[in-house]
Amino acid sequence: METAFIIEKLVLVVVVFVLTLVIAMYSTLAERKVAGFMQDRKGPDRAGPFGILQPLCDGGKFFFKEEIIPAGAHKSLFIAGPTLAIITACISSAVIPWGQPISIGNRVIELQVADVNVGILYIFGVVALGVYGIMLGGWASNNKFSLMGAIRAASQSISYEVAMGLSIIALLMVTQTLSIREIVAQQSGFVNWNIWVQPLGFLIFITCAFAECNRVPFDLPECETELVGGYHTEYSSMKLGLYMFSEYINMFVSSAVMSALYFGGYNFPFMNQLGLSPNWIAIIGVVVFFVKIIAFIFFFMWIRWTLPRFRYDQLMNLGWKILIPLAIGNIVLTGIITLIKDTYW
C-alpha cells in the first residue's frame, strides 16, 4: 500500500469523523429549534447569534458535571456501555460514498473511506452492534428501570432489524449488488432513483430506521413517562452526553444510508446535462448529498414533534404483524415484476 493512499484515507477519515460530530452537535441545537418552531416558540437563541454556540455550551456543561458511578453498578461494563454506543455509531459511516471520485492531476481520490463490496451488510452488522452499548449500559447500572429500558431496546432492535433486512432484500433484487458505491452509481440522474422502484420498501425501511435510532415514535427504551430515563437513568456527565450523541450520530448515518440507497446519494437531477467538468459535478454532488441528509434529519425531527409514542404492544404488533409481512410481500412483488420484465421486455 502506498503512503499517499494511506494519507488520503486518513484525511478522509478525519474529515468524515469531524463532520459527523459537528453535524451531530448541531442536530441537538436543530432539534430544540425545530421543537420550538413547531410549538410556536423560538427555541434557544441566547448563546451566540440564533443560539449557534448552544451545543458548545451544552458540551462544556457535560464535561464539568459530576460523574457518578452507582455503588451497585458493574464498573467496567458501566463505562463500556456509552463507549461502545459511540464507537459503533461512528464507524458505521465508513462505507458511505460521499461523492463521485475527484481527480487531481493523475490521482483519482475516492470520496469513500472503504469500498467494501458488502457495504450494506457491514452497516447492518455495525447497527446491530449498537444495541450492545445500550444493553450493557442498562444492565451494568443495576437499576430496574435501566434494565427495562435496555431490554426494550434489545427486543425493539431485533424485531425491526428483521423487517429492515427484508426491505433491503427487495432493493438488492433490483440493484443486484451489495456495494453501496455501486448502488449509488446506478442511480445517476433523477429517474433512476431507487425510491421510484421501491416506494414500499423505502416506507418500511424508514419506519425501521426510526425504530433502530430509538427515535419518537419508537423511543420506548428511554420513555420518560414509564421508565424515568430508560437505559441511561444512572448515567451522568459526559457518559450521558455520549449516549445522546450516539443517538444523533445514528440519526445522521441512517439519513445518509437512506439518501444513498433510495434517493440517489450524491446524484442530482440533470447532472449529466449541465456540461460541467467531473470534478465540479463531484463537488456539487457532495453538497447535494449533505442537503439530502439534512432534509432527512429534519424529517426525523418533524416526525418526532408530530407523533406521540407507540405503546409497547403496538410497537411489537407493527413490527412483527405488519412490517414483516409487508416486506415479504414486497420481495415477492419485486420478484414477479422483475421476472415479467426480464421475459417480456
Binding site: 420550538g36 410556536d40 407523533l307
Partner: protein, 187 residues
C-alpha cells in the same frame, strides 16, 4: 333512567376503515399541522430587549399619586391598609406643618408608607378603597430581587415623580409615552 340534561351522547366505536388503519393519511395530516406551525409567527417575546405590552387593566406596582399642583394626595386615612386582604400596607401618619402646603394636599399625610410586595396579591382593593384617588396599581410588574427586605417598598419607590419639576414639554412627552405603553412608568 330519565336523562337529566339531554346532553348524553352515545359514542359509536365503529371499527377503523382501511385508510384509518394504515395510519399514513393521519400521520401526513398531523405533519401538515406541525409544519404550518413551523412557519407561524412566534408567540415569544425576547424579554429583556423586547417588552410585552401590558393590558389596559393590568394591576402592577402601586404608585402614590400627586394632585395637579404636585402635592401628595394621600392623607394617611388607613383605608387602604384596612381593605388589604394580605395586610401588605403599613403607614405612619404625620401632621402637615406650616410651609408644607406645597408638599401635602391635606392637613394629615403619610410620613411612612410601606407596601410589602411579597405579601401583596395585586387585588386592587386598596385602589378601590382610597377616597382620595391617591393609590393606583398602574405600574409595571414588580421586579425580582435577592433579599426579602428589598421587597418592602417605601415612599421613595412608590410616590409619583413630581411633574411640576418637569417642563410642560417634558410633561406632554411623558404623558404621550405613558399612553403609548399603556403603563405609568414614573413612580
Amino acid at each position: 333512567m330519565e336523562p337529566l340534561s339531554n346532553r348524553k351522547k352515545v359514542l359509536a366505536q365503529k371499527p377503523m376503515n382501511f385508510w384509518e388503519k394504515i395510519y399514513l393519511p393521519a400521520i401526513i395530516k398531523g405533519m401538515g399541522v406541525t409544519i404550518r406551525h413551523f412557519f407561524m409567527k412566534k408567540a415569544t417575546f425576547s424579554y429583556p430587549e423586547v417588552e410585552r405590552p401590558y393590558s389596559k387593566n393590568y394591576r402592577g406596582m402601586h404608585s402614590l399619586k400627586r394632585d395637579e399642583e404636585g402635592r401628595e394626595r394621600c392623607t394617611a386615612c388607613g383605608l387602604c391598609a384596612l381593605s388589604c386582604p394580605a395586610e401588605a400596607i403599613t403607614m405612619i401618619s404625620a401632621e402637615r406643618k406650616k410651609g408644607e402646603e406645597h408638599l401635602y394636599r391635606e392637613e394629615k399625610y403619610a410620613a411612612v408608607y410601606e407596601i410589602n410586595m411579597l405579601r401583596c396579591i395585586f387585588c386592587g382593593l386598596c385602589e378601590e378603597a382610597c377616597p382620595k384617588e391617591a393609590i393606583y396599581l398602574d405600574g409595571p410588574h414588580v421586579p425580582a430581587d435577592y433579599l426579602r427586605k428589598d421587597f418592602i417598598y417605601g415612599k421613595d419607590k412608590l410616590v409619583e415623580e413630581r411633574f411640576d419639576f418637569q417642563t410642560p414639554k417634558e410633561l406632554a412627552e411623558n404623558i404621550k409615552n405613558n399612553e403609548s405603553k399603556q403603563i405609568n412608568l414614573t413612580l
